[in-house]
Each structure stands twice: as C-alpha cells, then as structure tokens.
C-alpha cells in the first residue's frame, strides 16, 4: 500500500515538474510574448477571434499568397508535420495571417490555404488590423518595390509563433527548425505542457 502511494506520489511529482518546466526543443518564449489576441476575417468569410481557437494548439505565421517559394515551403513543412501527428493534428490549427490584405481577398486566401492542409486557416483584415497584430508579436513586414506589371514582393517575418490551448505564447519556430523538433514540441503542447 505504502509502496503504491509513494509510487503514485513520484508519478505525481514527475507530472508536476514536467508541467512546470516542459523541455521544449524550440525557443521557449513562455512569458515573453503576449497571449493570442486578434479579430480578423477568416478564409471562410467569417469574423474570427482568438477565442474561436481556445482548446487548440495554435501556430501563427505571417505570409502572403503571391509568395511562391518560402510561404509554400513553410506550409508544406507544416503539412508534413501534421501528417506525422496523424489524428492528433486535429488538436492543432495553423493560422496563415496575410501581410498583403490588398491582394489576399477571402476567396484567394481560401483557395491558397486549402491547397496545403485541412488544419490551415487563412486570416486577413484591414491594413491597420494586420499591422497591429504583427506589432503585438514584433513581426516585421514591408512591401517591396512595385514592378512594371504591378506585382510586388513582401518581406516578412519568417517565424512561426506557437501558442498552447489556452492562448499563451510558448515557443517560436524558424525556417531552420527541424520537423522533428517541431513535432516534439507540438506533442508536448497537445499533452497540456
């Protein structure tokens, strides 16, 4: 009996200490970045806020659809990780926040995100809304020179901000992050770390 309870205590202690200090592989930003908060238009045409994603582990990335290389690379990597996670991926949402709201209309955004993964959500809004959200997470972006055909590139933050199911900012991934490390930390967060 005694042995059982001490064992239970050990397990409990183990659980407590791991809950207090999860061993993340990515950059731990717990307590250093604000909670997830926004009100934007989703690619389904509806207004969505951070509250709509409570209970989900959220990855947030700033990009634009006319980006043929780096954004699809990032989104494809996320898709690969989601596939690795199998059914667990249903507990995750990947938010693609457009830093090019002028061109990223709801239909364009919808076509774009659905081409990558079913857990992706596209978000757009007024330039002020986008700027405020980017500023909140110190994510820089700026529009490049307009070319002859009217096209332009947008330089944008490469980071992926990862929030736990309560909306707390927890870890930061970059393009250099390995899929293995990303998957590891997502699993921790899905377990409630």
């Amino acid at each position: 009996m005694m042995r059982v309870s001490s064992l239970a205590l050990l397990v409990l202690l183990g659980a407590c200490s791991s809950a207090a200090k999860p061993r993340f592989d990515l950059t731990n930003v717990t307590g250093h970045l604000p909670n997830l908060k926004f009100q934007l238009t989703a690619d389904n045409g509806k207004t969505m806020t951070a509250k709509d994603f409570r209970g989900k582990v959220v990855m947030m990335y700033f990009g634009y659809t006319h980006c043929p290389d780096v954004c699809p690379l990032t989104m494809t990597r996320m898709h690969v990780v989601m596939q690795q996670l199998g059914k667990l991926a249903d507990g995750i949402r990947f938010l693609f926040v457009s830093v090019d709201p002028a061109r990223d209309t709801v239909p364009v955004l919808h076509q774009y995100v659905t081409a990558f993964d079913k857990h992706d959500v596209g978000l757009t809004g007024t330039p002020d809304q986008i700027r405020a959200l980017a500023k909140r997470y110190r994510a820089a972006f700026d529009r490049g020179k307009v070319q002859k055909d009217g096209g332009y590139e947008v330089n944008h933050s490469a980071a992926i901000y990862i929030f736990d199911s309560k909306g707390h900012a927890r870890v930061l991934a970059t393009p250099a992050t390995s899929n293995k490390d990303l998957e590891h930390d997502l699993r921790l967060l899905l377990k409630g770390a």
């Binding site: 659809t65 006319h66 980006c67 043929p68 290389d69 780096v70 699809p72 690379l73 989104m75 494809t76 898709h79 690969v80 364009v108 076509q111 774009y112 659905t114 081409a115 990558f116 993964d117 820089a140 055909d149 096209g151 590139e153 330089n155 944008h156 933050s157 490469a158 980071a159 970059t174 393009p175």
Partner: protein
C-alpha cells in the same frame, strides 16, 4: 522568288548555327528533378531543378521562358534577421563540373501568369537561355502546392 529562297536559306543557316539546333546534341547543362509547385488560381508558381554542368567551362544561366507562363524570372529567397525576402537575380553561374540546386527557400524560377491553368501531373517545357546565347529546353513536372519535391 530567288530572293525569297535566298532569305530562307540564310534563315536556315542562322538557325542551324544557333544554339537551338545544337541543343539536343550538346546541351550545356544536365537538368534533374525538375518540378513546379503549382499554386491555386492566378498565383505565381515556382520552378525547381538540379542543374549540373558536365563541361570544362562555367555555364551562366541568364534567363528562362516558357509558353505556359507570360513571364519567367530567376529569383532567390533569403532570410536574414528573421525576415524572409525574395529578389530577382540577373544570372546564375553553374561551375565547370559542378551543380547548382534550384530548391525551395533558395534559387528558383518564378513563373508568373500561367497562360492556361497548369494541370497537376502534366509536364511544362521551360527554355533556359545562357550568356553565350545558347538555349536548352527542360521538362518540369507540375506538382501540387504541398509537394516537398519532384516525387514525394
């Protein structure tokens, strides 16, 4: 009549001595794993490949074109200080007996304004043009938006 024949002959000679006619026999580069990431709608696509130069001299890629796209540009993505950027490059040098990878996150062909929607699984010919005027056709496989490579 004679004038026309002579003109035609001249044109034929010009064509025969151009790189185009020789492309089949002495293509400057070997092109492997060539694929296109097709994005939905009218969004720009990106072309990737491994370019290998079997020759003794550097080969300088200066432009590319395709009947399938209104415009093809040489581009490079880069990241510094946490910011992703993309810029046009005016040429790409493939060293003698060396290779250059056009791969996601680095060098790529920016393919703009598809003339017709590009079907996933189809092949697209892209003509590479080199500094010495030679050209070479390469066949690229159209892959879905979330493909990781030519055959994942």
């Amino acid at each position: 009549m004679r004038m026309i024949t002579r003109l035609a002959l001249l044109a034929l000679v010009a064509w025969a001595t151009s790189g185009l006619a020789h492309a089949g026999v002495s293509a400057p580069l070997q092109v492997h794993d060539a694929w296109i990431r097709v994005l939905p709608g009218a969004l720009p696509n990106a072309g990737y490949a491994i370019l290998t130069n079997p020759g003794n001299q550097e080969v300088k890629l200066v432009a590319a074109r395709s009947n399938a796209y209104a415009r093809v540009m040489l581009h490079e993505s880069s990241e510094s200080g946490g910011i992703s950027r993309m810029h046009a490059v005016d040429h790409l040098s493939v060293p003698a007996h060396g290779s250059v990878r056009l791969a996601p996150g680095g060098y790529h062909l920016m393919l703009m304004h598809a003339v017709h929607p590009v079907k996933i699984g189809s092949r697209v010919t892209i003509t590479l043009r080199f500094a010495d005027g030679r050209t070479q056709d390469a066949s690229f496989l159209a892959r879905p938006a979330n493909a990781s490579g030519v055959n994942d």
